[in-house]
Every structure is written in C-alpha cells, then in structure tokens.
C-alpha cells in the first residue's frame, strides 16, 4: 500500500460500514440482564409539584427520583453552568423536565407506568418568548434575580455612540428575529449504563465523552475517574449531543447506583424532537448611523432565549455578540447581549453556537443600508470588509489575510452576479442575494489554554499507529481527517492508522468535539505527535503525547471580554439565486454558489460534504424549519410537521475552497464545520427580498410567512 499524501482524496473509513448497516449504534447494544428506562417528564412549563403518585410497581420495576441521589451527591448536571437539575424537585421550570425515571425489563410496562403516574401541579404563569422575559411575565424565573436576564455582556469599539448618532445624516433602526431550530440528527439520543467493578460505565451516543463524565460524577459525589464513558458510533449530532447526553446520563447514573444492572435508555424520534435542546431563538435590534454614504456606527441589542437553565447559554451568547458585526470593520460599535430565561426547554449548542443569529441579522441590516444608499449590497459590504490586523468588536485583531474579495470575485463570476443583480432588480419575482460571514475557530479567547488544555496521544504498535484522543466521529468525517493527518506526516498508508471510538479510561482528554476546534486544535496535536514519532520511528513500540500550546501574542481578558477572541477565523461568501411563484409563494432556488476560506482542506471530499450539508441546513433554517412554542410546548413534534430539506428542495451547489494556510493549524488547516452553516440563510433572504420587493425581518420564511410579509409591508 502506498503512503497517504495529504492531498489524496480519501474514501471515508466509516462510509461502507454505515451505508451497509453494519455499524453498531447504542440502540444495537444488548447486555445480559439489561433493563430499560423511560422518563417521567413535566407536562407543565412552570408549576410547583404538589405530589407525584406512581402506580404500584410490579416486581423488578423501579421509580428513581431526586430522592435517590445519595447525601454526598448534588442534584445538578455540570455542563458549563451547573444549574440544570438532574431531576426536578419541588417545582418544574419547563415542559419535558425530567421528574423521574422508571426502570424495568419491559418497555411496554414502563410506558404504562409513565402514562398512569399522577403528578399534581400548582400551575403558575410562565414566560415563553424573549418579549415575555423582558416583561418578566410571571415574575423572575431564576431565584434571587430581579428580572429574567440570566447572563449579560457588552463590547465596545471606537467612540462614544451618542456622539456618533449626533453627527449622523440618517439613522436606521431595525429588529430581526430568528426561530428555534431542531438538530434532527439521524440517530436519536441514547445511552446504556452499567457497573464494572467499582466503576460506572456508559455506552453513549455523544460528541464529548469527557463532558458526560464531568457532568454526572457529582450526582454521586464520586471522582470523575469512576465514571467511564465509551462513545458509541454516533449518527449525527450538530451540537445536539454536546451537553444534552448529560440529561440522559444523569438519571441513568442515579438509577445504576441503586439497581446495579445494565440499563438502556433510547429516545424515540418524537421524544427526541419534543424534549430536547434547540438553537436559541433571537431578537436583535440594530441602530446604525449613516453619514456621507458611509456606515459610521452601530449599536446592537442582542437577546437570546436561553430557556429555563443557563447550561451553556452564556458562552453561546458571547459568540453571538463577538460575531455581531459580521465581517465588517464598523468603526464605532456598542453591542450588548442579554441571555433571557424563559419556561421553554433550555436552548443549547447547535452548529454555529450563537454566531448564525447575529450574522443573519447584520447581513440583512447591511443589505438594507445599501439599498437606502442606492449601492449594490455586494459593493457596500465589500467596502467595509475587515482586513488583516483590523480591529474586532473585542478590540482584538484579525490574525490572517482576509481573502473575501478574491472569494467573492470567484463566485460573482460563476453566478454572473452583477448582471443578474441589475436585471432582476427589486420585485421582479426573481432575485439573487449575497452574504459574507466568518466563524472564529476553537474556544473563545484563552479557553483552549485556560480551560481545556487538550492532550492527544499517538501509540505505535509494530507497523500500526493508534490515535488516542477524546474527540469523536459523529458523521463529520473526523476519524478520516485525523488518520490522514497522522499517515501523511508519518508517510505511511492511512490503512495502518487506527482511531477507535474513545473510552475515557484509555485516552487523554483532547477536549470537546465542538466549536470547530477538532481539526485546528486536535489535528495540530496529532500532527505534532506524528512529527516526533516519525523521528523516533526506529525505536520499536512507544507512545507520544502532546499538550496544547498557546501561541504568543494573543492577549485575552475573560473578565472584560477584551482582546483576541479567536486565534483565527474561517471566512465565507455565498450567493443564492431564486424565483418565487407569485401565486403560491413557493420558492424555487435556481443556484447556490459559495466560497470558503478554511486555511487548507485536509480532505476535499469531506470538506465538500460539509459545505453541501451546512449550506442546505442553513437554507432549511431560513426557509422551512419552523419550530413554534405554545405555552412551553413545542408545536412541531414529528418529522412530518417539522420538515428539513430533502435533496429535491435545492439544486446542486457550486463550491470553491480558498487556500490560505494557517500558521497554527495542521498542514495549514482551520476549523470549518460551523462556518459552512453561517451564511447561506442571509443570501437566501436577500434574494427573496429582491424577488418580492419587500424587506423581511425574520426567519424562517415558509410560504405562509412570505404572505404575511407581503401583507404587512
């Protein structure tokens, strides 16, 4: 077999086993004496629990609640914050909150136990939307607070905004709203827990095995090492398996502590949609000062609906605020972010992690300003691009050469943008739209250095090399990427490199598989391990382990959010062309063009797959993926009423990958998994606005919402 080179196109190592149905997911695992579990959940959004009366339990059945947490344990899941309770006790704060866990041999019996349990509530008024939370409807949700602002931050750049607005010729204030989005990972959430000696072992579908361990150990008051997490082949995640698996693992661990038999909990599809985390809905208000045909300042108020628990929301909100000026060097800005507590299911990680909401809003706002100035939106946006060394909203600087002009030129030519932009005009039924976006790679600020301190290890056994990291394959292709990096450095065939699913008792913690950090950070660690291994190749069997090293010269103050928020950005440009059926408001997308600068594509086939998927997911977010919440209940609870795009909905895409090797990444690569989600939505809505000749301020926009926009305008 030939040595693998970094530019070879590789068939994904997991492709065949998944396509053939040979891969084993957690639902496929069976153990001797295994029991099943089913959750008893809150049916009220905000209420005191008066009583919980389960039916008489048949032999061999258990009902586990907060009362089963031992005295040395604490009823909290340690995500980023620790406020999400493992079991509701005394009150419930959202529909779907776990109250108890039934465990026993028959799922049919478990279902009847859940159905026949009587929970008596004293119902209180809830807050469900950002506006409800601003109005503190029903009183503050978080104990000890005076309002429903759960977390807050601001960033400022340039002069005092009051003086900026004073000298403006024109001020444009606009409010944008984005909705919930459901992950719809192909495989639903699931886990099995069991004992092994004095340890507890999880087999679980997840992105971050070390997160699960950290999150649940406190429930029993035991050291994290006594919880061993073995990631099972994971059928998609998109952020929906970053922290949410903890919500399954917590109750299972408490049950295992009492029952001592293997227990399996698998969510049905409806359960997984109705009772799981979503993307944060947002309300974003921009007020911009325009002078002499130029944008001189923007004030932004950014509200995210966090749901009933903080969990990871403050970090999501931070990323939202840090991306709120998009790819533009707006000279004066003042941005405030508010994370609002509501009685909806907690919002959590979702591809883009807070950035897509503000990027959508700023893109639309910039297009609207351009229209008022009589300039083509593309030209107006180009005139304000950030450049290398340019100041970011956190008073940091852009590390890399910004190549958006080159990227736009490529897709503008391919799509014939300028001719179509002129010809289609505004309100002709046809439109072409454009958007620019970026995504800061890896954890914000000094998080990689201060919080994660990632480790990765390479083991040599004869001619084989084994990758030992906590990072996971979830469908994105990371097993192939890491094996390719190792093989290319070592100049050996990729077939000689193994990368088994991680087991926290065997591998070092390379940090969560999130934040577009895997290739950039963990890939770099493996590259460094492989470089040393190559030099020592003749030494027989040995291991090489490396720790993350933070490059010098990128200051960050986490208490004030000042400095270099990211060590590098991925950059993107997208163009979407569409036609609208005037009779039915059905939209036909005629063309999609994108260019992405990700440093270097480790594998073009995988990157192409990510672009195709990310862009379509973003178009679904903009057009059809509508998830409504009525009084705390999600209205769309199945895949027939919450629809995601099929291959029939959008045409084949043109894609371009801009090379711009990144100093601190493996072979020059940066992160890209989230970037490709961050912008097609705004290009679509820009095109739609031009087609219908009306401005719109919210997504998603299925045909009935387009009707509303046309009527309200």
């Amino acid at each position: 077999m030939a040595a693998t080179r970094i530019d070879d196109k590789i068939r994904r190592s997991d492709a065949l086993s998944k396509a053939r149905g040979e891969a084993k997911y957690v639902s496929d695992l069976f153990f001797d004496g295994m029991l099943y579990a089913m959750m008893l959940r809150s049916t009220e959004a905000r209420a005191d629990i008066i009583s919980i009366t389960p039916p008489t339990l048949p032999d061999g059945y258990y009902f586990i609640t907060a009362d089963d947490i031992p005295p040395e344990g604490k009823n909290g899941l340690h995500m980023i914050a620790e406020d999400w309770r493992c079991f509701a006790k005394g009150d419930v704060r959202f529909v779907g909150e776990t109250i108890g866990l039934f465990v026993g041999p028959s799922r049919a019996v478990l279902k009847s136990l859940v159905d026949n349990t009587k929970v008596e509530y004293s119902v209180k008024e809830g807050a469900y939307s950002i506006d409800d939370a601003i109005a503190i409807k029903g009183g503050p949700i978080v104990e000890g607070k005076e309002d429903d602002v759960m977390c807050q931050l601001y960033c400022e750049k340039g002069r005092d905004m009051e003086s900026v607005f004073k000298e403006a010729d024109e001020i444009l204030t606009e409010t944008f709203e984005t909705g919930f989005q459901e992950h719809v990972h192909l495989e639903t959430n699931g886990a099995v827990v069991m004992e092994e000696g004095e340890n507890y072992v999880f087999y679980i579908s997840c992105q971050c095995p070390f997160y699960v361990r950290k999150s649940v150990a406190g429930l029993l008051g035991i050291p994290v090492e006594r919880v061993i997490v073995r990631q099972t082949t994971t059928g998609g995640a998109f952020g929906g398996k970053e922290h949410f698996p903890d919500v399954l693992a917590g109750p299972l661990l408490v049950a295992e502590h009492k029952i001592h038999k293997p227990i399996k909990l698998i969510f049905d599809r409806e359960e997984d949609m109705e009772f799981s985390v979503k993307r944060h809905p947002s309300k974003i208000i921009y007020k911009s000062a325009i002078k002499d045909g130029k944008l001189i300042g923007t004030k932004g108020d950014i509200y995210y609906n966090c749901g009933a628990y903080l969990s990871a929301s403050f970090v999501v909100l931070q990323r939202g605020v840090f991306h709120a000026n998009g790819v533009y060097d707006i000279p004066n800005t003042y941005l405030t972010g508010y994370g609002m507590a509501t009685n909806t299911f907690p919002s959590d990680a979702f591809r883009g992690f807070g950035a897509p909401q503000t990027l959508f809003a700023i893109e639309m706002h910039m297009s609207h300003i351009a229209r008022r100035l009589g300039i083509d939106p593309a030209d107006f946006k180009k005139s304000m691009f950030l450049k290398k060394g340019g100041e970011t909203v956190t008073n940091g600087h852009v590390v890399e050469e910004v190549m958006l002009n080159e990227m736009f030129d490529n897709i503008a030519k391919e799509s014939d943008y300028y001719r179509k932009s002129r010809e289609y005009g505004y309100g002709s039924g046809r439109g072409i739209g454009v958007s620019f976006y970026n995504h800061g790679g890896a954890f914000t600020g000094n998080g990689e250095q201060a919080i994660i301190k990632a480790h990765a290890r390479l083991r040599k056994e004869g001619e084989r090399v084994i990758i030992e990291v906590g990072s996971t394959e979830m469908g994105q292709g990371f097993q192939t990427i890491l094996r390719k990096i190792a093989a290319a450095v070592l100049e050996i065939p990729i077939e000689n490199v193994d990368y088994p699913n991680p087991d926290t008792s065997c591998v070092p913690d390379s940090g969560p598989t999130a934040a577009s950090r895997s290739t950039m950070i963990v890939g770099r660690l493996i590259e460094r391990c492989a470089q040393e291994m190559k030099e020592r190749w003749g030494e027989g069997d040995f291991t090489v382990e490396k720790e993350y090293e933070h490059p010098d010269g990128f200051p960050w103050d986490q208490s004030t959010f000042r400095g270099d928020a990211y060590l590098g950005y991925g950059w993107g440009a997208a163009i979407v062309e569409l036609e609208i059926d005037r009779r039915t408001n059905e939209v036909v997308v005629k063309g999609i063009w994108s260019s992405h600068e990700i440093g270097k594509a480790i594998d073009e086939l995988i990157v192409h797959g990510q672009i195709n998927g990310g862009v379509i997911q973003s178009l679904g977010y903009a057009s059809m993926e509508k998830m409504e919440n009525r009084n705390g209940h999600f209205k769309q609870t199945s895949m027939s009423d919450y629809v995601i795009p099929t291959s029939m909905d959008f045409p084949e895409q043109y894609y371009h990958i801009q090379e711009n090797p990144y100093e601190f990444g493996p072979f020059g690569a940066k992160g890209m998994g989230e970037l490709v989600f961050n912008g097609a939505d705004a290009a679509y809505v820009d095109a739609l606005e031009r087609a219908i000749g009306k401005e719109v301020y919210k997504i998603p926009l299925p045909p009935e919402d387009i009707e509303e926009a046309l009527r309200n305008a």
């Binding site: 799922r107 698998i266 359960e271 005037r582 009779r583 045909p703 509303e708």
Partner: protein, 286 residues
C-alpha cells in the same frame, strides 16, 4: 395484545369483517403510524385488525367497455402514478404522495378510508365524481367518494364492509390543472391542494370543476359554484371571475384556511381562468 386476521380471499375477508368488525389494514402507512407506541414497544390497535394486503381480487387497474376506469382498492399509489389510463389529476396526485417507499405501499382504498382532510387522492377523485364499490356478505353497494367521506377521519363505511374498488366514469375536459403545496418539494404532507378542469368547445364552457384539498374537514367542491361558469362564453370569464372566486372562497372552511391558503387558492383559480380566457393551448395548465 393485538388480534390479527389474515384472510386468503375476499369472501373470507368479508366473513371475518362481519363476525369481528376487524379493521382492514392494507399498506399500513397510516394505521401503523397511528398504532405506534414508541421504540421497542409493539404497536397497539384499538380493535382487531385484518391484514388484507394479500387479496389479489382488490388489486389492479382496468377500463370497462363504456370507458369507466376501475381501480382496485389495494392498488398502490406507485401503480396509479405509472398508469397512463388514469386521469391526469389522480395520476399526478398519486405521484406526489409521500416518498417513493410510501407510494410503493400505500393504497388508494386506504387513503380514502383514512379520510384525512390532507389526504392526496380523495381531492381529485371527488373532482371526477368517482364512486366506490363497497362489498359485504350481503352484496355490493355503490357510493360517491364525496358522500363516503363524511368529515375529518369519518366515513360511511359499515363495520361489515370493505372498499372493493374505485370507479371513475369518463369525463370530458380539455383544460387541466393540479397543484399541491407541500411542506417541502418531496416527501411532504399537503398544506393545500387544488384541482381544476374545464371543457371548452366553440368558445363555450361546457363543464367546469374544481376541488380543494386540506381546506376544511373534508375536500371542498360545490356544483352550484361551478355552475356560475358552466354554459357561459369564454369571453365572459373576465366579468364572471371575481364573483366566482368570491363564491369559491365562501365554501372553504374559515378555520382550516387562514389567509395564505385562501389567497393562494384564489390566485391559482384566477390564473387557470385567465389561461382559458386568453385561449391558451388546450391541455395541462402549469
């Protein structure tokens, strides 16, 4: 525990049906979903069921001597979509139902018996005045599809009957229109569907029909409203159109049809009438 019968022929099926009132299950694409209990739990049916998928007497499409099209109740949507003898509206609706796997399994009889207001096939069948042959041990009776479906999820099927076949007499039409607005472009449930047809000869509208799906508790069609155009000259369409559209709007359920669906229906019908009025080429108006 479910009780399940699997008859070998129609007579046996009718005997079981009379004796047990077991619910006929054909393709199962509706009933299996409704009976679903969750992962790892057997489906639960509220009454005994009878799997009739194997009854060959109820399968296939034929045309009788007088031109009447007869579709066996167990004929699948895929088979209907592929058969050019089937009227345009029915064939097109069948071809846009769910996904390929569903169309290979779902039957026309099941789609009618399920009586969902969003069902794809009842709408064109009602447009074409299709009838059903209902079989029981006492013999057969014939009924219009429009009368058979009495409301959302409600039918006139007796508890000892089975839908045997669907009959559509030849209908003359030279302008045809069908449009389904789904939640997306494939594998979608109907938000709204509309069929329309006209038979125009020598500048006169000899027949005009329309039917709206997902428009209320059942498919909406009204002969009195259609008659506003029948017998009239094509050249009168511009002066008749507004009155017709208002009258059509009046038969749609206000609850089930919020502004968007109501307005889209109006715009599509208006478009269809404009095309006839303009003397567009005969055939399918798309």
């Amino acid at each position: 525990m479910n009780t399940c019968y699997i008859p070998e022929n129609l007579t046996e099926a009718l005997e079981i049906r009379r004796k047990t009132h077991a619910l006929p299950l054909a393709g199962g694409t509706d009933l299996m979903v409704q009976a679903k209990q969750g992962i790892g739990i057997n489906p639960v049916f509220k009454s005994p069921i009878m799997i009739i998928t194997g009854l060959d007497e109820l399968k296939g499409i034929r045309v009788e001597d007088d031109g009447t099209l007869v579709i066996g109740a167990l004929t699948t949507s895929a088979e209907i979509a592929a058969d050019e003898r089937v009227f345009y509206h029915i064939r097109t609706a069948a071809s846009q139902m769910g996904a390929i796997s569903l169309r290979n399994t779902a039957t026309i009889g099941g789609n009618i018996a399920n009586a969902s207001p969003k069902g794809d096939l009842p709408q064109p069948l009602i447009l074409l005045d299709a009838t059903l042959t209902l079989a029981s041990l006492d013999g057969e009776r014939e009924m219009k599809v429009d009368d058979f479906i009495t409301g959302a999820k409600k039918t006139a099927l007796n508890d000892d009957e089975i839908i045997k076949e669907i009959r559509v007499k030849p209908v003359e039409a030279n302008y045809l229109f069908y449009h389904k607005i789904g939640t997306r472009k494939a594998n979608a449930i109907s938000k709204l569907s509309l069929s329309a047809m006209a038979n125009v000869k020598d500048g006169l509208i000899l027949d005009f029909r329309a039917s709206s799906g997902a428009a209320g508790d059942k498919v909406k069609r009204k002969r009195e409203v259609e008659e506003m155009l029948i017998g009239k000259a094509v050249s009168d369409i511009p002066s008749l159109k507004d009155g017709f559209l208002t009258a059509w709007n009046g038969i749609l359920s206000p609850h089930a049809m919020p502004t968007y669906r109501r307005e889209s229906t109006k715009r599509m019908l208006s478009y269809f009438l404009d095309k006839i009025s303009e003397g567009a080429e005969l055939g399918i108006i798309s």
